[in-house]
Symmetry: C2
Subunit: 285 residues, 2 copies
């Protein structure tokens, strides 16, 4: 297994992270990137208001002491091959993918040289962060849209191809604030091989460095595990509620961390071992 | 085990049930009570607008063909001992507890002769229905209040003593429409011996007659099973999010029914066996 312990860390943020006081998440990002002198690249490609997004993060990172931040604007797919864009990512110790629309992000950078450069950066040890749309995009599989009304429903949420940094998961964001548990249930019910990860606003799942993960920020990360699911969903009509039996649900509040290192203070509890393998295994898409 | 197969049926309704077209739930209630000629008593004690509540159900039941409906108004605790009140319940084949506030309902009738009369009615085979507050009140244990913001939280929901018809469960209503999963998670996390039952609006869980249960109406019933929970909740400060690992979640859409009879077409699936025992066992409070 090609283990993430040989790679950089991922910071998967549920959106709306604080940017001034109590900016735990952005502060941790700078720390994981290597501190105030670390070169940071902010990718605005998910947004149609790239200048505003960059202005927001330029100010936020400066307020936290980071001095070497540059924007990576990709307004069209061709921009994702520009030497200046690739150099910014190649030189970065921290890369931050800002929010917007994950479909726009993938349409602009999926399969481009910039996409390859992001993988190369993580492989050489950079910290890659994504917030909101940028968080969902980190999976191999990505939620694209959908809001079931009140219950899980067949066909109520859509999926697409993501950037491929988290192989066996599907990541949703603004999770509790937008009541997205039914959207995530709808997706994992159809895809029980994937761990569903719901990240609250101002909350992040930190994967690595090494064989550990942590939840930081203000809320919680909710895990939906359908690996033992019994369901009639494949025979259920679109728009109707499927029978779902045996979903496993875990709520991990901020302040929690686990490690699979032999001497870990908090070893990974049995119910989270599948998730842990899914997060750390980089081999099987 | 004193099994519910020797008792009448329970109809546990999530509130806001339709009362004219597609009145599946009220129609099923009349059917379980014995049809158009069955004597029906409507208990309005949960409400402070008892006349309006009675007017609503009088019209609804009449529209569905029921011809022998009477109100049971209990405006003060002393009313729950009145001969006319006890006679109405003693003579009823169907008893419908309308909504309002479950704390008011219990304050007015808990431990009174009317409370005893309700148990006697179910023991002789009557159908007992409760909607909204009347549904929550059917448990031995009852949710009284509480609305966690976005996550399960320590101390975010309160409990009290209910009417005692469903022993090992805690029943919540308006479940999906009011996003109450976190309230129910907060309660079962502290009380893992109880099955959490969340019933959507215009949806009902029908228990009995005999060893079977069904979900009817428009939505679903969500079961939260914390029997294998790993949590730090007893050591977590009030208002904060506890670590919850290994909650089991089941979604049962309307149209589903199960039976534990030896010749059942749909036997109870393994993940629901604990719930089934909890619903049918009337011995252990």
């Amino acid at each position: 297994m090609n283990h993430r312990s040989t790679h950089g860390s991922l910071l998967i943020v549920g959106g709306t992270e604080k940017n001034a006081e109590n900016a735990d998440i952005l502060g941790r990002f700078i720390e994981l990137a290597g501190g105030a002198e670390a070169p940071i690249a902010v990718i605005t490609a998910a947004s149609n208001i790239a200048d505003q997004v960059w202005g927001h993060y330029e100010q936020a990172f400066r307020a936290l002491g980071a001095r070497r931040c540059v924007p990576v604007h990709v307004l069209a797919r061709a921009d994702a091959s520009l030497p200046a864009v690739l150099e910014a990512v190649a030189g970065a110790a921290g890369i931050f993918i800002a929010g917007g629309d994950q479909k726009r992000l993938l349409a602009r950078i999926g399969g481009t040289p910039l996409h390859d450069a992001l993988h190369a950066a993580v492989q050489r040890g950079a910290c890659l962060a994504g917030t909101s749309a940028g968080a969902s995009a980190l999976g191999v599989h990505m939620v694209t849209h959908g809001q079931p009304d009140f219950n899980p429903a067949v066909g109520a949420a859509g999926m697409g191809a993501g950037l491929g940094f988290v192989p066996h998961c599907i990541i949703d964001q603004h999770f509790s604030q937008r009541h997205r548990i039914n959207r995530l249930l709808s997706l994992v019910a159809r895809n029980p091989q994937l761990s569903g990860i719901g990240i609250d606003e101002d909350t992040a799942l930190v994967v690595g460095p090494g064989a550990r993960f942590a939840v930081i920020g203000a809320g919680a990360v909710t895990i939906v595990d359908a690996s033992e699911l019994q369901s009639d969903i494949v025979d259920t009509a679109p728009g109707t509620i499927p029978l779902l039996l045996g979903v496993r649900l875990h709520v991990i509040p901020a302040g929690t961390s686990f490690s699979s290192a032999p001497d870990a203070a908090r070893p990974v509890p049995a119910p989270l071992r599948t998730l842990f393998q899914h997060l750390l295994d980089t081999d099987r898409p």
